[in-house]
């Protein structure tokens, strides 16, 4: 995040907090492999274990259930593949239930398992707000006789901010005896997160989305559940995820989670006010803009996602970039080529409009002035992007 810019891309990564940087730098001076038996190793191990305990306490989980990974993507891969392979080894049906709006870190492992490992995937649809109806999952499980390797539904969507009724889904899966995984990367720090109350088999969290260092995340597991490792080696992390742990990353991660949970309530209140102000501002500045996703309790407080008909999202992004505003089209890129968002397509938005969308994700650095600057910059950017959109016959962009 550069000085003088409006940084409205906190869902991509959020600037490191000062207390995180202190914890991270202090721990980086400790030389020792946490798995070594000597004094230096024990010093490093103590930092890792204290980080584990701190994260577990903040999220109402047991320390032994926190499996550190290299980040959210690895945690999602471990959950999906680890649960799938363990279930297959038990003789359960090689079947996966997945929402159709998952992050690529879930979506791609699911599709990979379907292509290479014979997984039979049931895609759970969403409504026009991006919401999964838990009864659809109940019906799907009933149809399948309750025999599936796992069900995965993200807690909140990274693009349009829709918060799923994961408590209900977890209950349904528990009753059917099917492991349930949820990607909670976007909700951490934005809504209360109680692992014990949720009762899922696996929950993914990530450090850098809440002002921690990049390069660490965790899968918080139900220790009664079986996971086949994805990364084999020295047997660290309950033999579920091998590899030497970095005590500095763990210390920074723990400081970030602690801060996110401690300030969650007041942070969310502040985000709600900014969110309402930005949504109202965009609606009045660009009357034909369409808000995507849910409202109120079904939407993350830091997420604002609009479609601007007639504009290419990436043209808008470029014009706003030039105006000092960092935001995102929210969708994945292949070699820099924007693809229409699978999330928007799943909510029924047509492809042309899906390409015309922008995400503003607010966070700790966001101020009233930032909102004012975004709203002030949008009309001329939209105007120009519309002209650029109509200047090329097929709207290539």
């Amino acid at each position: 995040m550069l000085d003088g810019r409006v940084y409205a891309d906190h869902a991509a990564t959020s600037p490191m907090l000062p207390e995180v940087r202190e914890a991270w730098i202090a721990a980086s001076a400790v030389a020792g492999n946490p798995s070594s038996l000597h004094s230096s190793g024990r010093a490093a191990r103590r930092i890792v274990e204290e980080a584990r305990e701190s994260i577990a306490a903040a999220l109402h989980a047991r320390p032994s259930s926190v499996i550190f990974t290299s980040g959210g993507t690895e945690a999602d891969n471990l959950a999906v593949k680890g649960l799938f392979w363990a279930a297959r080894d038990r003789g359960d049906a090689p079947r996966i239930l997945s929402s159709s709006v998952e992050h690529h870190a879930v979506l791609d492992p699911v599709e990979w398992l379907a292509k290479h490992e014979g997984a039979d995937v049931t895609w759970i649809p969403v409504d026009d707000r991006g919401l999964v109806d838990p009864t659809w999952i109940a019906e799907a499980l009933e149809r399948l006789g309750g025999d599936a390797a796992l069900c995965t539904v993200m807690w909140a969507n990274n693009e349009i901010g829709t918060i799923q009724p994961v408590q209900d889904i977890a209950r349904i899966c528990r009753a059917a005896g099917v492991p349930f995984h949820t990607d909670a990367v976007q909700v951490l720090g934005q809504i209360p997160l109680d692992i014990t109350e949720l009762g899922a088999s696996a929950v993914t969290i990530s450090s850098h989305k809440v002002g921690g260092p990049v390069g660490i995340g965790a899968l918080i597991i139900d220790i009664a559940e079986q996971f086949t490792p994805v990364v084999h080696g020295g047997g660290q992390e309950r033999e579920i995820r091998s590899g030497t742990l970095d005590c500095a990353l763990a210390a920074g991660f723990a400081a970030a989670v602690e801060a996110a949970v401690r300030s969650q309530h007041e942070h969310a209140e502040r985000m709600r006010v900014l969110q309402e102000s930005l949504v109202a501002g965009i609606r009045s500045a660009v009357p034909d803009a369409i808000l995507n996703g849910g409202q109120g309790a079904t939407r993350l407080p830091g997420n604002v996602h609009f479609t601007f008909p007639g504009c290419e999202g990436d043209a808008l992004l470029m014009l706003l970039d030039a105006a000092g505003i960092d935001c995102s089209t929210g969708s994945a890129c292949t070699a820099g080529i924007p693809e229409p968002s699978h999330v928007l397509l799943a909510t029924g938005v047509p492809e042309s409009l899906a390409r015309s969308s922008l995400r503003f994700s607010l966070g700790r650095s966001t101020s009233d002035e930032d909102v004012t600057r975004i709203v002030a910059a949008l009309p001329s950017a939209v105007d120009r992007a519309k002209r650029a959109g109509s200047s090329t016959r097929n709207g290539a962009g």
Binding site: A322, I337, P338
Partner: protein, 365 residues
Amino acid sequence: MKLIAALSGGVDSSVAAARAVDEGHDVVGVHLALARKSAGGRERGCCTLDDARDARRVADVLGIPFYVWDFAEKFQETVMTDFLDEYSAGRTPNPCLRCNEHIKFSAVLDRAQALGFDGIVTGHYARITHGDHGPELFRAIDPSKDQSYVLAVVPRGQLAAAHFPLGGDYKADVRAEAARRGLVTAAKPDSHDICFIPDGDTAGYVVSALGAQPGAIIDSATSERIGEHRGTFTVTIGQRRGLGLTVPAEDGEPRYVIDVDPHEAVVTVGPREHLMVHRIEADAPLWLSSPWSGSRSDVQVQVRAHGEPTGATVTTNGDAVVAELAAPIQGIAPGQALVVYDGDRVLASATIDATDRVRRPRVHT
């Protein structure tokens, strides 16, 4: 000025962008995503991704914003489809010209201008001067790199917004400058192939896109069938190699493709003298100077990107152009562009439909 710098990931566009930045322009780097998939349905090759990465690294070093603009669909519609249509019609297309005409100095420039930019800077080797009657296009100083031929299809209105900072430079100096500036592209080899046929196997590409359509190779001297081809679109007038002929010619001289007839699926081969063209007819001229009517004999014509200029008398009625060559040129195929020069200055371009050897008019527009 606010300028888009088209960054291909090569050395020339890198230095062109760097100079535009030095001159104080407000420059934004853009890499064009053109061929998303190759003919065999393969994903964008690793080389293409490397080019995008190199372009991004150059923008980083220059401290300018960088974006990838996706013109793959438009490129498919206007360049790749035309390429196959032209080969199907027994003509020889030049996709780089079509890309300059429809993509770089049309769709990309339109988009840039709509987004508030004043123009586009590229690493082409050619010069533009701004005279009383608008921009004028000239050959580059470095004759071995001159690209005025492939730019001669860009109308003056668009040339007015084009910037070619390298037109007055020699390639070796441009490379040295790139190295001095610390640009990652300094030592990259020049690209010679058609960008969507990276392995250079044009015949293989066309066959995989259109399917093999075999037919006879006929010797013009004997009218006998002496071989078989995979499709008339796999050969080009003037071609000598790769025909797989085993029967030697009666006179022992090499034989060249002298005509391709896609309707009868026949390729005719004959001696070199049957390739000699004295007269060229071309249609739909684009004027980069004041059009004349009647004849001018103080001009030169060029029919290939890196061909030699030849003195000619060029006669036009406005819709068509006829060039009577002062000395014959070997192996001209319909579909190639005829570019008319007055010394270093480009006067006009037009697409060849016929020569005194073959007539193969365009079947589509």
